[in-house]
Amino acid sequence: MNNRLEPTIGLEIHAELRTNSKMFCGCTADHFGKIPNTQTCPVCLGLPGALPVPNKKAVEWTIMLGLALNCKVNRVSKFDRKHYFYPDLPKGYQISQYDEPLAINGWLEIQNPNSKIPEKIRITRVHLEEDTGKLQHTTLDGKRVTLVDFNRSGVALVEIVTEPDIHSGSQTKEFAQKLQNIIRYLGISDCDMEKGSMRLEANTSWGLDLGYKVEIKNLNSFRFVEKAVDYDLVRQKAMLDKGETPRQETRGWSEKEGKTVTQRYKETAADYRYFPEPDIPPMIFDKAFIERIGKSIPELPETMLNRFVKQYAIRKDYAEILTTEKNLANFTEKVFKLAYSNKIPLDKVAGYIVNSKIDYKKVEPKEIITLIQKKKAGKVENEEAIVKWIDAVLKLNPQAVADYKKGKLNAISVLIGNVMKISKGSANPMKVRQLIEKKLSD
């Protein structure tokens, strides 16, 4: 019977919108690392008598995201109150959306490991809500207490919910990265996993009819997402094979132990008593309004990637890397145009940008052209020589090594750059990358 079991994963992803002000009041939304409780007002502190007025930009951006994720935008939408008691929730309810979210029924494609055809992950809904305050649990004078900071309270938050269409940790990671990339292209959220402006919860099981699901959350990097989901699926499978049903619970990832652990969390009653938020009039959009938002959507990563491959005839893996960030993609495109007029092959340019330590934020596109033109043809391919340089660089850059191991994969560019420097530009950067990756994964 267990042959029919299949990893089944649905995601709930929250992203904080980078609006200037909060969702329902004029307090600044930029809260990370600010002095506690300096960005609050009657509304986001939940003072008696205060009333919410929704932020127009947040509504428009959520609709934009819905459209970018191939959703249907609901012409009639509203806010609802979701009730639960927790000290970070000042009103005793969160203003969220229940049965009429802004957008529904979308999809996003990811790779299918067993087939060349990409797999469609269905998106159930995209809705808008408000973030909570932040809690810190600590001990004061021998008493266990909770410290509360409401700077984050009321920041606009979009929630993206998928159908349980995902089947592995790597797919989970791919979906999340792809979504992050789209949101960043739209420019509506920083989607920083480490800072918590993107948060992912994976509901995992080996089938919807097994009567349990394990929620994995508090994952602050994509690498942990993949590891945690894969680890827990194996753990669940082992239990199922023994005829046990895994406990329905919330688990987090312990990098130190390399496993998922039960999250200590306060059980709140699962009856949210949703009802329509009486303080906010309904939202009713006409077709023209939705179309106008649709037209304002910039070129999305997938489209740009395909265009790079087609228009500039570069390798797909290069195109993928060059479109992971909107600014990098725009920069690359400028370099391409210059390279074309200088008769430099574009695939070579792409390779150079991918493999060399180029911080595109600090370099002008035309400098890249000069660098490529100066570069000699001969490259050191000798592994032994390169490994020596690498060893030296790794020793000198423990921080970058640690960052990389923590999941900050782009820390590798620092290391590659330094190797290129020591080698005076003579090492083959592709080779350098391969060897560093190999070394750090040991």
């Binding site: 307090c27 409780n37 609050t40 207490v145 909770t146 410290l147 009802f275 009486p278 906010i280």
Partner: protein
Amino acid sequence: MKKTILSKDKIKHIAKLANLSLGEKELQKYTEQLSSVLNYVEILRQVRTRNVPPTYQVLDETKNIFREDEIKESFSQKDALAQSKATHNGYFLARNVFEERETSTKILKHKKRKVIDKYNAILSLVNSKGNVGHKDLFITKGIETTAGSRVLEGYIPQYNSSVVSDFIEAGFITKYKLNQDAWGHGASGENSDFGPTKNPWNIKKVAGGSSSGSAVVVATRKVDVATATDTCGSIRMPSAYNNVCGIKPTYGAVSRYGVIAFASSLDCPGLLSTSVGKLKKFFNLINKKDLFDATSQSKSRGRNLGKQKGIIGIPIEFLSDGIDSEIKKIFMQAVDTFKKANFKIKKVSLPHTKYGIAAYYIIAPTEAASNLARYDGVRYGNDRNYFGPEAKRRIMLGTFASSAGYTGRYYEKAARVRTLFIRDLEKAYKKVDAILAPVSPIPPFDIGEKSGDPLQLYLMDIYATPSSLSGTPSLSIPCGFTKNDLPVGMQIMGPRWSEEMLFDLGEKYQRLTDWHKRKPNLADE
């Protein structure tokens, strides 16, 4: 009729959802009282609502009210933390969430609050040279605001409500913060945690609620105008019981920002004064849209009502059962006055009147339970054990009515019946300009007389339900006295945004009568 049986376990579960710690005795009491209310509410099942859409808000199709994405000034950390009982290094201090809370069964001992006046109408004397009194639901910056509840005793707000700001801008000075049924929960003025307000016409009688203090200080001419709120009769009832004039405006006419919320889709801030002429003048100060209250921005505001018909309606359902005969007689005399002033009088039917209380006592407690969820004692005020019995009762009732599996039967059902109320009135206003009705089925009664039975007190709100559930305005004015010299009031109801017309009708009546000029005996003040 199927009996609703609430088990104690169910009540325990509801208390948990409502974040209330109830002792054994309280659990027992609420099990009985809630059962009795829920049994009463079962009459809603007689109403066919299959094809009737629910009404959750009354907003004249107002939609898409947003603010631009602009940063406004925030509180300083000091102001944010100022009202918290426990802070640490710029943080609020909360009970550790992982620690189980022990059920508190001990009865809180409260310090007795100093009684300021003979009628216990005044909670704070702010400035003896002032000229406006505010019901204590109105947030006043720097001035204690309690909502009549121990939960907020000592709370000094960090901001002003929009209505209070309007008065300040017009040059008014706040004289009093005024007693009221805690959180607006009550028709008699007896539910204040700081003791009942007494009636200046007969100190043994209730003053009517919930805006009890506001009506008393106007009746005793301590101020010309007092703010008040009406969720389902809370302006009209004390206005009638104290012989003063009150306007319960169109829902959305006056900003609710900074008015402590009772039931958000019903709450109407308004005013009490000594004559309709004055009321009209003061009303202009606060009758405006407010960017801080999304529900105050109706595009129908100030719309032209068109030509008047000169016809006033009398709702037949109000005058059949349950009305005191003396009240009915006095009311019919008022009707005659209009007749003499050349108005045509026409009977109208509001067939759903008898379901009003049931619908209201589902909708209001559901919203109240939600609105009262913020009082956790972390950022301001005291913890939830400080709620009085009526607030707890309504929190429990509302939590139950909106809990999983019950919304369809209660909250949604009541919202559908609400639609029928709106339709009843729309139909009536096609035939008549305004509807004249008594405010209360009975004259002021003895303090304590009905306090044992919450349902009996709930039934007092019956005549207030049509205009409250439909978000339409109602002007309450004096229309006579009982043999025992107790005031009787009537209300003139109109369609949404018809305040001007109601004031005109009220002024016409007050030119022909002088009931409103009578004052209680103030000799021993």
